[in-house]
C-alpha cells in the first residue's frame, strides 16, 4: 500500500490537529501499517528531541551592550530632528525599519508617490526660491511682460520672469533680490530687459540687457556657481562674485567695483584693427572703468572721492542688516577708513541705538557734507564723550572706529591715533583690531612721518594678526619702507 497521502496527516496527528473522523481513520491505518507507524515514531521522536534542545543564555555584558546601543540610537534620533539631512537618512532607516510592519502594496505605491511628489516639490521650491523678486520700489516703475503683452506695475514679492522689460523713471528705485544669491538696485531713468533667467537647485543664471540707466549689484557668498552677465551697448560685463555699479548711457558704460572683480569685454571697431576685436579687462575693487562703443576700454582707475561716496550705496544691498562701517574688505580698506568712513545703520537696527548717539552721527554726516571740519571735530568729540560716560552699545567698536576715522579726516591725527589705540586695547578680539593697528601704523608713516615707529607697529600687526587682511597691507608697507 502507498502511504504517501498519510504523511501530512501524521504530522498533524502528533500535534492533535487532525479532525475526529480523519484521526480515527488514521488510527486504524496505523494499527496495520508498520511503515507509517515507524514514520510516526520517527516524527514524534524528532519533535521531542527538538523540544529538548538546551536553550542558550546571553553573554555577561549583553544587557550593558543593549543599553549602550539603545542610548546611542536614541541620541541619534534626537539629533536627527534638528538636522534635515539626517532626517532624510532617517527616512531611509525608517523605511528599513518598517519591515517590522509589512504593508500592503497599495500603501507602498501610495507612499512612494507621496515621496516622489514631495521631492519634486522640494526641488521646485528650492529653485523657485532663487527666482529674483521685487523687494522694494519707489517712484515711477513699470514692467512690460511679453507673455501677457501688457505693462504691469511691480508689487512687493512679485517674481520676475525672463523677457521682463523694466522701465524706471527719474528718481525711481527698484530693489530686486534673489534669495541668498544677490541683490540689485535699478535706479533713475533706466531700461533693462531680463534676457535670461534660469534657476537651478543651487545656482541662478541671470543675463540683463541694459539699454540705459543705473544698476547696482551686490552678490553674496552663495553666489558662487551662479552666473550673471550684463549686456550694454558698449560692452559685456561678467560678474565674478562682487559688489559693483554700472551706469549705462547710449554709447558708453561706466563701471565701478566696490568689492571683488568684474570682467568686461568690449568690442573694438574693425576699422581700428583688421577685424572686430573683443578685448577683456578686469576691474577690481576700488576701481572704475569707462567703456565706449567700439573704443579700447580705458585702463581701470581709482575712484574719485565723489564716486567713492556714491558707490557706498551698495552697502545698503547687504543680505544681513548690521550696523557697519562702510569700508571695503580688501587690503586697501585702510584708505577707505582714513577718509571719513560713513556708518551705515539699517532701519531695523535703529531701535538698538540710543537716540542721542544717532543724532550725533547725523550731525557728523551733515558736517562732512558741508565740509565743515571744525563741526565734524566738535561732534566727533561729543560722541566720544557720550560713549565714555554712557552705557556702551553693541556697536561701540564700530562707533569708535567711526570717530577715529572722522578725527583723521579733520587733520587731527593725534586724536585719531588715540581712539584707534583705545579700540586696539579694549577690543583686541574684534575684527576691527587689526584694522585699528594698521591705521596707527599708517598715521605714523603718512601723517607723522615717523618711519621707525610705523615699521614697529606694522611688525607688531604681522605678529598679532598674521591671518588678517590688514597683514597683507602691513607686509606691502614694510617692503616699501625698506
Amino acid at each position: 500500500m502507498r502511504c504517501d497521502a498519510k504523511l501530512k496527516e501524521l504530522s498533524l496527528y502528533i500535534d492533535g490537529k487532525l479532525a475526529g473522523n480523519k484521526r480515527q481513520a488514521l488510527d486504524e491505518h496505523l494499527a496495520k501499517c508498520p511503515l507509517c507507524k515507524a514514520h510516526l515514531e520517527g516524527l514524534e521522536s524528532l519533535r521531542s528531541s527538538l523540544g529538548n534542545l538546551s536553550p542558550i543564555k546571553e553573554s555577561t555584558n549583553f544587557d550593558l551592550e543593549f543599553n549602550r546601543l539603545l542610548d546611542k540610537r536614541l541620541n541619534k534620533q534626537r539629533a536627527r530632528l534638528w538636522n534635515w539631512k539626517e532626517a532624510i537618512a532617517g527616512a531611509g532607516a525608517s523605511l528599513r525599519e518598517s519591515i517590522i510592519y509589512p504593508v500592503p502594496a497599495v500603501v507602498k505605491v501610495a507612499a512612494s508617490l507621496v515621496l516622489v511628489v514631495t521631492v519634486l516639490f522640494g526641488v521646485r521650491y528650492q529653485s523657485l526660491q532663487k527666482v529674483p523678486y521685487v523687494e522694494f520700489m519707489s517712484g515711477e516703475i513699470k514692467i512690460y511682460r511679453p507673455s501677457n503683452q501688457t505693462w504691469v506695475m511691480p508689487t512687493p514679492d512679485m517674481r520676475l520672469k525672463p523677457g521682463d522689460r523694466i522701465h524706471a523713471e527719474d528718481g525711481a528705485i527698484l530693489n530686486i533680490a534673489s534669495k541668498e544669491r544677490y541683490k540689485m538696485r535699478v535706479k533713475d531713468k533706466s531700461l533693462i530687459v531680463i534676457s535670461k533667467l534660469e534657476s537651478g537647485l543651487r545656482n541662478i543664471d541671470t543675463d540683463l540687457s541694459i539699454s540705459y540707466g543705473n544698476i547696482l549689484v551686490n552678490t553674496t557668498k552663495e553666489f558662487k556657481g551662479s552666473k550673471m552677465k550684463l549686456y550694454t551697448p558698449a560692452c559685456e560685463a561678467e560678474v565674478v562674485g562682487t559688489a559693483f555699479m554700472v551706469r549705462v548711457f547710449e554709447n558708453r558704460t561706466w563701471l565701478g567695483v566696490l568689492e571683488g572683480k568684474v570682467k568686461i569685454v568690449s568690442k573694438v571697431h574693425p576699422l581700428k584693427t583688421k577685424d572686430e576685436q573683443r578685448i577683456a579687462t578686469h576691474v577690481s575693487s576700488g576701481q572704475k572703468a569707462r567703456i565706449r562703443s567700439y573704443y579700447y576700454p580705458t585702463i581701470p582707475q581709482l575712484f574719485t572721492e565723489k564716486e567713492w561716496r556714491s558707490i557706498q550705496e551698495l552697502y545698503q544691498l547687504q543680505e544681513s542688516q548690521q550696523i557697519m562701517l562702510l569700508i571695503g574688505t580688501g587690503s586697501n580698506r585702510i584708505d577707505n577708513l582714513l577718509r571719513a568712513a560713513p556708518l551705515y545703520i539699517p532701519d531695523i537696527r535703529k531701535h538698538d541705538m540710543p537716540k542721542n548717539i544717532q543724532s550725533l552721527i547725523g550731525n557728523i554726516k551733515d558736517a562732512i557734507e558741508n565740509d565743515n571740519t571744525a563741526l565734524v571735530n566738535q561732534h566727533s568729540r561729543e560722541l566720544e564723550l557720550l560713549l565714555e560716560k554712557g552705557p556702551g552699545t553693541r556697536y561701540n567698536v564700530e562707533l569708535l572706529m567711526f570717530i577715529a576715522s572722522h578725527y583723521h579726516q579733520t587733520r587731527n591725527p593725534q586724536d585719531a591715533m588715540r581712539v584707534f589705540e583705545q579700540v586696539l586695547n579694549e577690543y583686541p578680539e574684534s575684527q576691527m583690531a587689526p584694522l585699528a593697528q594698521c591705521a596707527i601704523a599708517t598715521i605714523y608713516e603718512k601723517d607723522l612721518k615717523e618711519i621707525n615707529k610705523a615699521e614697529r607697529v606694522y611688525k607688531q600687526l604681522l605678529k598679532a594678526y598674521p591671518d588678517s587682511v590688514d597683514a597683507i597691507r602691513a607686509q606691502e608697507a614694510l617692503s616699501s619702507l625698506r
Binding site: 501530512k8 504530522s11 500535534d15 521522536s45 524528532l46 551592550e65 540610537r73 519591515i99 510592519y101
Partner: protein
C-alpha cells in the same frame, strides 16, 4: 500586568520597558539563534530587536500580543540576516556543506546512529546539538520559522500563524514539510521507507 508595563513604556518609561526586555530577551535570543545558527550574531540581532521595539513602541497596538510582535521583528531581522549571509557566501563561494561529502560525515552518522538507537533520549551532547542546529540551518527560512516556533519554542499553530502572518493550516503544512526534511536528514526516518 504586561498591559500596564506596555502603557508605561509607551509613555517613555524606560524602567517599564526594561522589565519587558528582561522577560522576553531570552526567548527572542533563542529563537534568533535557532534561526541563524550563530550565537554572536544572534545576540546582536536580539539587541537590535529590542532597540527597534523601544523606538517603535508607539506603533504597537495593545490588543496584539507583545511576544508575537517581538517574534515578528526578530523573524524579519533573522531572515534579512540570512539573506545577506547567503549573498556573502555566494560571493565567497566556499563554506563546505555540513553533510554530504564533508569531513564530519563520519562523526555525524555515528552520532545519528547512536541517537537512533535510543530515539527518546535527550539530545544532550554538545556535538549532537551542533549537528541538529546545522541541519536546521539548511532548511528554507519559511519552513525553519514554523519549525522553531512550534517544535522548539512550543507555540500553538494559532500563535505561530499570528507571527508568520498566515493561516494556522499553512503553519501545519510548513511544519510537516520542515519535519519531513529534518527527519530525513537526521535519519529519524529512513529515506526509502516513505517516499513521497
Amino acid at each position: 500586568m504586561e498591559e500596564e508595563l506596555i502603557l508605561r513604556a509607551k509613555s517613555g518609561d524606560r524602567e517599564a520597558f526594561d522589565e519587558l526586555y528582561q522577560r522576553y530577551k531570552r526567548p527572542i535570543l533563542n529563537y534568533i539563534y535557532r534561526f541563524i545558527g550563530n550565537r554572536a550574531d544572534a545576540e546582536e540581532l536580539t539587541q537590535e530587536v529590542f532597540v527597534r521595539a523601544y523606538v517603535n513602541i508607539q506603533r504597537f497596538e495593545p490588543r496584539a500580543k507583545l511576544s508575537s510582535w517581538l517574534y515578528r521583528i526578530a523573524g524579519n531581522l533573522a531572515k534579512n540576516h540570512i539573506r545577506h549571509a547567503q549573498y556573502d557566501k555566494r560571493v565567497a563561494s566556499v563554506k563546505k556543506s555540513t553533510y554530504e561529502g564533508s569531513d564530519d560525515e563520519f562523526d555525524v552518522i555515528e552520532a545519528i546512529e547512536d541517537r537512533a538507537k535510543k530515539p527518546d533520549e535527550k539530545l544532550a551532547s554538545k556535538e549532537t546539538e551542533r549537528i541538529v542546529q546545522e541541519t536546521i540551518d539548511q532548511l528554507p527560512a519559511h519552513l525553519k520559522e514554523a519549525l522553531i516556533l512550534c517544535d522548539i519554542e512550543g507555540l500553538s499553530y494559532e500563535e505561530a500563524a499570528k507571527i508568520m502572518r498566515c493561516r494556522p493550516m499553512t503553519v501545519g503544512s510548513r511544519l510537516w514539510r520542515a519535519r519531513e526534511k529534518l527527519a530525513k536528514m537526521l535519519h529519524y526516518i529512513k529515506n526509502g521507507e516513505t517516499k513521497r
